[in-house]
Symmetry: C2
């Protein structure tokens, strides 16, 4: 199948899945390469191999994405294409067209932007719905923490990517004490309910933590401080966050442990090696699409009659 | 410069510009290849050459796009990234970060989706803001025709792509008589005012008509009726529209003639050859970016001090 080599020792969904139950992030080596097949070769050759595999997987993802999109277009009826965000509540389960949502979380410099560029960039931008979450605006703070998340969901037929997400509300909100403990503690269950609701509404959620080491973060921050074309990515507050590394790791571990459900599983991708990170996320998406068993929708018109009409109009 | 070969006989912006003033679409051959350099070779080799050039131009566009994005991030302040649509009225001129907006119009099968896939697909999806316009919804019909367009504008720092646009309101609305003549006649000036307003708000608009022939449209429609994986792209009403080809060409010619302004110029891209279409649009975007003279923003923090802080935290 188009030169794509499958992971070894199982699917990436099996190899990288964590939770529910205890998660020990310190036991997952950020430089490890689970599932990488022997075909990748050794040393620096692996990087080139992985990059070319991501291109090939991307072409497959593009085909799957088109089928997802096509189903939604046909379901919406003539001219029914929509690119407007759809309210979660408006899309019922059953025959509603499916959506896929990739949730990316990581410490600063963890590679969220790079993953979007390389993996989402290999798909058709027409079918992508990418949303980044920064600090909540005044308007957003007037609503519950999921309000802005519901508004950012991909419409039916789209592949959504969340660059950060509602998990910040149990990560930064917890570590920086933006809300009291009772409030963030209650959020794990609220998130699980929300994600179960998404599953019922035909939204397939893939949650990925890009797992980097403290040392790798230090190197990448120094790079941003050294290369003037990267200064814009740096913010002095990044070092305050870095100083609380262990607290953030604890917060991540608890989020993974409590919200790694079957309805919306969490995957930890070792991310110190960028080429492995992209390769692993591409396979996670490919396997997710494969499990959906998508196909092109049948014509909802009389094909032969339309061919005759077209010929009568003198196209040939 | 990275292997990108410039167009011959002038820039694509010069070669493809039409309006203001009379536009004779029948005089523009949809199979022509203006600006294609001798380096492209002959026959089928040109296609491969153009495809590889689009990749190279895409890498340049990606760098330009990053500078656009970086400027907006820095202007927004710490954590100020936003992917939410910005009201046109909220972004003032002056030091406001720039946005670029590519408007794509074409007859059915003209290649709008393909252009998005190939040209926008060569950029970083994180900085793209793609919006498709179908028939107006009930809610949209309760407002003036530009209401939904203003809401779909790219935020500062983003490259927007309109897949169809407010021009449908002087194209399909005119030919299918969805509004009376006085109404659509008044829209040309309303559009010119709107686009002048955009220019003042640092939105650089590039309007492209993908120009295909009646025969090519017939072949592409037949392909959609022949290949089951393309049935979903076909709609029986496409043939009703095709039957009014000349009326649509007249409506296009008037829109180009009346709205091909210096503030928001129109370009006609011969589009029967897909590889030429993509190559031409990629160059139009590249030339547009070049004219903006973008650069990376300077650090708004003390770089040496931050490097010292990072070292003190023990990154190395």
């Amino acid at each position: 199948m188009s030169g794509v080599v499958r992971p070894e020792d199982g699917s990436m969904r099996e190899l990288l899945r964590v939770g529910p139950g205890p998660v020990d992030l310190a036991a997952i080596d950020p430089r490890s390469t689970p599932g990488l097949p022997r075909a990748a070769g050794r040393g620096s050759a692996r990087k080139e191999w992985a990059r070319s595999q991501v291109e090939l997987i991307g072409a497959e993802l593009g085909r799957q994405q088109e089928m997802l999109y096509a189903a939604a277009q046909v379901a919406a009826g003539p001219g029914g294409a929509t690119s407007a965000p759809t309210q979660a509540g408006a899309a019922l389960a059953g025959n509603r067209p499916r959506r896929v949502l990739l949730v990316l979380q990581a410490m600063d410099c963890g590679g969220k932007d790079g993953t979007v560029k390389r993996v989402a960039g290999a798909m058709n931008p027409l079918g992508l719905h990418i949303r980044s979450f920064g600090p909540p605006t005044k308007q957003e703070l007037r609503h519950d923490f999921l309000w802005r998340v519901r508004r950012a969901l991909p419409p039916p037929g789209y592949v959504g990517v969340f660059n950060r997400s509602h998990y910040e509300d149990v990560l930064i909100a917890r570590v920086e004490e933006l809300v009291d403990e009772a409030t963030w503690r209650a959020r794990y269950e609220i998130i699980n309910d929300f994600e179960r609701e998404l599953a019922e509404q035909a939204v397939t959620v893939v949650k990925v933590m890009l797992h980097i080491s403290h040392a790798e973060q230090g190197e990448r921050l120094m790079e941003r401080l050294t290369d003037p074309t990267k200064h814009w990515k740096y913010n002095p507050s990044d070092l305050d966050t870095r100083a609380r590394w262990d607290e953030y790791q604890d917060a991540y571990a608890e989020a993974l442990r409590r919200c790694g459900t079957d309805a919306a599983p969490w995957f930890v991708v070792p991310a110190d090696r960028k080429w492995f990170r992209d390769w692993a996320v591409a396979h996670l998406l490919r396997e997710t699409f494969d499990s959906l068993d998508l196909g092109y929708p049948a014509a909802d018109f009389d094909v032969e009659r339309e061919r005759a009409r077209l010929r009568d109009q003198g196209s040939e």
